[in-house]
Amino acid sequence: MTTSEKYVTAAYCVVFGVVLLYVVIIAFKVQRLERDLDELEEKRRG
């Protein structure tokens, strides 16, 4: 692998790494929202 190829690979890995991290953070948030909804559902049922 040449130096240019290493830098280009690094740049594209950074882009997809950040997007993936963002998706993981959103997934955790959705999980928390699901828990909150379940909690509200439990309360409503009494």
Partner: protein, 223 residues
């Protein structure tokens, strides 16, 4: 207005990003001047334009909040600015990598375009400090909207900086006569640009849906 369903947007993002990567790495020729390293350009420039679009959308929603008092415009402005900052960080990171291979430095302080983009990025990064230093409510929404509107002035300045600068190290990609390239390079760039815009819009819609759900749950708790 009917919105495109999220699964359709997610599928379109996947198809466009995959097509863009195939065009960038297997179809577009090597640049005569920079060689293989020029391939960073396709996503770097696309992400930069997308971050400008996000900041523009954030300002537009901020204006709608201040002018028409659109319900939800404040939250939409916040999410758009958030997307803009994420994409702005990617511009700085990919740009630094490209600068290192092309110019031999991670950052060049004498380049107006670089410094102005950093100023724009830091301005919008400070938006969150302002927003979360005020309690939730109309005051927070109004202050955030005014700040988001002020920041958008920096977008054309950042975009035009390259034309105002006399030390042109940073390449000028778009001139008055159109793009400085054609053929497969242009085709790969256009597909990459479409891919990044659709991806950003998909992420915007996902984040906004989460925020709206969060607001509704909080309202139900206090009801």
């Amino acid at each position: 207005m009917r919105r495109i369903p999220l699964p359709v947007l997610a599928a379109a993002s996947l198809v466009l990003v995959t097509t863009a990567l195939v065009l960038v790495f297997f179809v577009a020729p090597n640049d005569a001047d920079q060689g293989f390293s020029q391939r960073i350009f396709y996503f770097h420039v696309s992400i930069a334009f997308t971050s400008y679009l996000c900041f523009g959308a954030g300002a537009w929603k901020a204006l709608r909040h201040l002018w028409k008092r659109d319900p939800g415009a404040d939250l939409e402005s916040y999410v758009a600015v958030h997307q803009g900052v994420i994409f702005g960080a990617l511009v700085l990171l990919t740009g630094s990598i490209w600068a290192k291979i092309s110019w031999g430095h991670w950052w060049v302080w004498s380049e107006d375009q670089l410094v102005l983009f950093l100023v724009l990025f830091l301005f919008y990064a400070a938006y969150f400090m302002l927003r979360f230093s005020v309690d939730p409510g109309p005051q927070r929404a109004n202050l955030s909207a005014v700040y988001a509107l002020f920041g958008v002035v920096l977008v054309p300045v950042s975009f035009l900086a390259i034309r105002l600068s006399h030390r042109l190290i940073h390449p000028e990609v778009f001139t008055r006569h159109g793009p400085n390239f054609g053929g497969w390079i242009l085709a790969a760039y256009l597909v990459a640009q479409a891919a990044v815009i659709v991806l950003a819009y998909t992420l915007y819609r996902v984040e906004l849906a989460g925020k709206l759900l969060d607001v509704r749950i909080k309202e139900l708790r206090t009801a």
